[in-house]
Symmetry: C7
Subunit: 259 residues, 7 copies
């Protein structure tokens, strides 16, 4: 009960030195549908599960292109993610306009994290309710970053966020040491295999709810969805039979605000 | 009881990572009278039920023209919708003035969603209490979008919002696969049939409380009301006899603030 | 008890999706003395009951001229109404100065409604506590509009607001189909007959507490009060004898702040 | 108990549609010492009871000259009244400087009321805690106005405000029909007779605690106090003997902040 | 208990029409050490008791020169008084610079009162916690004014404020009718006699804790302290023997913040 | 319990006319380590006890030079003191730049006190949590001032603030009458003797935790610490043996934020 | 329970003169992983433990280069530290650009402390939740500073902050007297030995979770990590065997927001 006294204002410290509102915002990431990212020595790949509010609407876009060399996968509030994506696109455009080259992904991700941090230190705005996985290929090679509502940012070999992402993370941890040598399609297959475990109990990964994106050495950021995704799914069915079923205890909070 | 501690300020996260004030605002959409939208390969159609505060006043306008190629149907607070419509009209005018062409509907709808999102991240304003169905025909063909107070936006084949809209949604889900090939008048008939189920128990769809709008390949956004609507209603009576009566459990909150 | 948690701030949604402070402001309209408006094909007429705080002061003005072609009747807080009237007069003057013509009433009324809406979406100001009946005659003919603290606006054939207005509304609903063909004086007589029912139980409509205004095809906005009103009251006494006494259950809240 | 939830903020409506903070501010007027005003066809007169905080200080001024043609009597917080008087003097000076004529009292009083209204619609300032009786003689003849903290303003034949003012009001209501024909001195005598009833139980009206001001056809605003008031008081003693003693139940709240 | 709901914000009215925060600020004046002022036909005199926080510090200055013709005695928060004195000195300097003459004390005191009033009508600042006695000699002769945290100002024959000031006030009330004819030194003796009663029970008036200031016809504002005060104290001892000991029930709140 | 209702906002008066937040801020001064100051006819001296957060860090500076002629000793929050010292240095520099002479210490101290006062009258900032002892030698000779969070300032013969300062104050009160005739080194010895009593029970005054500063007729502000202090400590040991041990009941709060 | 009344706003003093929100912010430093710093006569060294959120991400950077001559080690919220580092880099760049020389570390650290202090005196922002150890080598030789959320800054011989830092501090206190004469590599070995004790019970110091940085006489700020660190760790294993195991009672909060 007392704990609640410190958890309604983002600028108030709890006696234990925690910012509870920031921690609550991080909960919203766990309610978005799963998103995973991984990289080899030559490519970065994002995989995501799309939700649909009803049969009548198309599935919500979960992977957004930012620039030729960079895209994001999201888990949490879609509206917040769209706002951030808009800002990122502008940053990339401005850099290209001024310097003639692509904005290095490390720099973009750091500025993004500062943008998050500012919302955690003033009472005027709330922290963003969305986590991003950033996949890029720039002059320093392929990168995967994970950002949090707290303003933290991690460079990763691979990562998984969102509902039921624990299953995907387990897959990635088991295989990540083999990723560096993978070629493009092998990496995509790993992404799909990690994603399979994140589908809720009675569902399955289809060309409708799944989506993958790849960026790499000689390939601009490319979204693979629908029919283009089917061949990979077919191959997945062939290969696996032994990979599914790792259902995890997390609940899927099918709320329309998260994706 | 504890839950209530996080639900009076839009910038406060609940411990489960939810923004309860945004969810409450979405409730106001459910209290407006029903509104449906659908599209074929050539046309987009909006249908809406109009409420009247008394016999003495005309029915409240539920479908608003924004530009030649785009209009909206609304459910929720009329005053909020009017404010948004005003802004949308300005955006269309500015684009036409600067570029000489119609503003693509996808872009308008994205900017609109960002406008919603901003009200959910600052304590200065409340989230808008209105949901919109946007129907348009631009260079990419016909579109139907649904927007929410949360700042989410969905592109749809068809959609229904507002009081008793579940019945209309059920109709749309049953028939949406046949919409693409419909011609203009068939699409209007589908709109009316979906709308019939949304009328409250003892009422019926008339040329007074019903209204339809169409936009399409060679047709500017056109409102069909009153006498112009009668022929379609006559045809509806002929065809149906078997379509009504799907009353749903939602209550109609005849509050003067919503439409 | 819980309901009260959401009703002290205009920017807070209740869990049912309502803005309770806006609804409370609408209560203040019900406490002002009654005001009615109606229109024929050629004229618009406002009728209102004036209250007097004591024998020593003149009755409070309830009908205000805005421009030659437009006036308002008010119910609710007089001070709020006076502020709005001042703003409306300025709008009319500016339009006349810039364009050389009278400001169309529909446009003025829409801007007025937006002005109301803004007070419902920010915590800086409270919603206005007054309802207006706008009567005008412009290039599109005669109009009657009703505005609410919520920012809603309705175009009407006729309308009645304020304390005991239910009785007047009943009269108007019974006869409004005959209004279009009425000439100026018949319309005024209808206004007075509707007003009679709104007088509190033991009072009666006199040249002191009643007031009427008319605007029409060849007539600027004209206030008819005191001696000028007497002939109509005499005619009313002749005609009626059968129209009074429809007292309704609403209480008259003789508070000095409302009119 | 519940009522109290709505009465600490001027921008919060109570569920009954009332602004309780504004009503509380109006209470402060009732705690100031009494002030009355009345007019004939040629003159306006203010009468007031002055309080003294101690023997050592002079009595507090209750009637303030604003301009040659206009003055005010006050009941409530003196400091608030002084601030308003300063503003009124500036308005009069500016008008005289720009137009060369005296500012019409109706216009000044309307602007003053708007100034009051603004304090009732924003949370930044509190409503003024003072009521004014304005007496003037301008090109439209003599006027008496009463203003309230709510922003309401009434034109009156006569009026009485402040502690024990009910007694004075009763006198005024009994005789106001004879005021129009009164000459200057008769009107002053009526003012004093109305004032006599407002003196607290064991006190009496003297040249020290009474004060009168007159403005009229050929007379600039003139304050009559001390020795100049004595002849009128002598005449009052002669005439009356039968007029006093109408003590009313209101308590005199001899608080140093009110006058 | 309920009363407390209205007493923590200066912009909130209590249901009885009082501003409790302003009344609380007036309590702080009662906790400062006593200060008295009085005037004859030719001179104004201030007398004050100085407190010392410890043996090691000099006594706190209680009488401050503002200009050649004007000075103040203070009771309440010293820091607030110093801020106000600074502002008053600037006003006097500016007036002298612009007009070449001394600022009339009535005008200065009115502006000072408005400065106080403003702090009572906005929530941004608190009311000042200090009362001033202003003694001056200008073209209209000698003046004594008393100001309050409420923004009230009184012109007085004489006045006493601060802890135990009731005793001094009693002395002044007994003798004030003889003050007008007093010469300079007689007036100073009256000041000291009034001050003697304000010394706390076991103390006595000395050249260390007492201070007097005089301003008059041919005398600039002059502070009389320490050795210069001794002759008057000697004379006091000679004359009196019968004047002391009128201890009053007020407690001396020897708090370091007040003087 | 009720008392607590008025003690969380610096702009709120308690019913007794006190500003409790200001009083709380003054408590923080009592928690800093002791600081004393005294003056002769030719010199001003500051003595202070330095705390060290651990063996690893140097002792915290407690005496700060502001200008050649002026320095401060602090007790309370170090971070607040540093901010104030920065401001004081700027004031001195500006004065020297504009007028070519040293800023008189009385003027600087008054401006500093006003700076404190402002934080006690607005809710935007908290009162500073630090007390200063200012020692200076300017054209008016040597000065010692004490400032408080309340905005009060006292000129003193000598003063002691901070934890266990009562003991030092007792010493100063016993000997202050002999200070005026002291030469530089005698005054420093008095400072050290006063400081000895302020050391916590089991500690002792060393060249590490003690520090002294002197400013005087022909001597710029000079800090005497470490080895330079040792000779004085040696002399102290010789002279005393009878001066220590006056431990007082105050607790040393050894908190890292105070010094 | 009462204590809680003063601990939710950084501008509110507790009755004991404490700022509890600032103290809570200092708790967050204790939850970051350990960081230590020390200096010889020629070099400054930082050592830190890096945490990793999962196997998939690289370890979080704990030591940040600011300029050639200066770097920081952090404990607490990473996002806050990154914001401060960005500001420090700018300060250094600006100084170099304007003056052509490196910014003296003492000046940078003082400005940084003022930046912290400001967040403790206004309600707009929260105090930063991070402690820094600054290591530099400038024209005054090597320096180590420690900063706190309170705005305090200490110059140290050595220091240790963060979770389990007590163990490292104990090591430093035991050996700090031998540091001045150490050469570069000896100093690094001391850093590693101090760090060993801060590793949580069942972990050990590896080239993955450990990191060291050095700056000195002829050496720019250099980070030693991974393979470059291994030789030192090997030497550590050789030398020690007797140094580990000093586990302290502090809990490691392994929260993703701290590092």
């Amino acid at each position: 009960m007392f704990r609640n006294m410190y958890d309604t204002d983002v600028t108030v410290w709890s006696p234990e030195g925690r910012l509870l509102q920031v921690e609550y915002a991080m909960e919203s990431v766990k309610q978005g549908s799963a998103c995973i990212a991984l990289r080899s020595d030559t490519h970065s790949v994002i995989g995501a599960l799309k939700r649909s509010v009803s049969e009548l609407s198309s599935h919500q876009q979960k992977i957004l292109e930012i620039d030729d060399h960079l895209g994001i996968g999201i888990a949490g509030l879609t509206a917040d993610a769209r706002t951030l994506a808009k800002w990122m696109r502008n940053e990339c455009l401005n850099h290209k306009y001024v310097y003639g080259t692509a904005l290095p992904s490390g720099r973009l991700v750091n500025d993004l994290a500062d943008r998050h941090q500012r919302t955690t230190q003033t009472y005027v705005r709330r922290p963003y309710g969305v986590g991003l996985l950033v996949a890029s290929f720039d002059k320093n090679g392929p990168h995967v970053y994970q950002t949090c509502p707290s303003g933290n940012v991690y460079e990763c070999y691979a990562s998984a966020i969102g509902a039921r992402s624990q299953s995907g993370r387990t897959y990635l941890e088991k295989h990540y040491e083999s990723f560096p040598g993978c070629d493009r399609d092998e990496l995509i297959m790993h992404a799909l295999k990690a994603l399979v475990g994140c589908v809720s109990g009675d569902g399955e990964l289809t060309s409708e709810n799944g989506s993958v994106a790849v960026v790499g050495k000689n390939e601009k950021f490319t979204l693979i969805e629908g029919e283009a995704l089917q061949p990979y799914l077919d191959r997945l069915e062939l290969e696996s039979g032994n990979n599914g079923g790792e259902n995890v205890e997390e609940e899927q909070g099918g709320d329309a605000m998260e994706t």
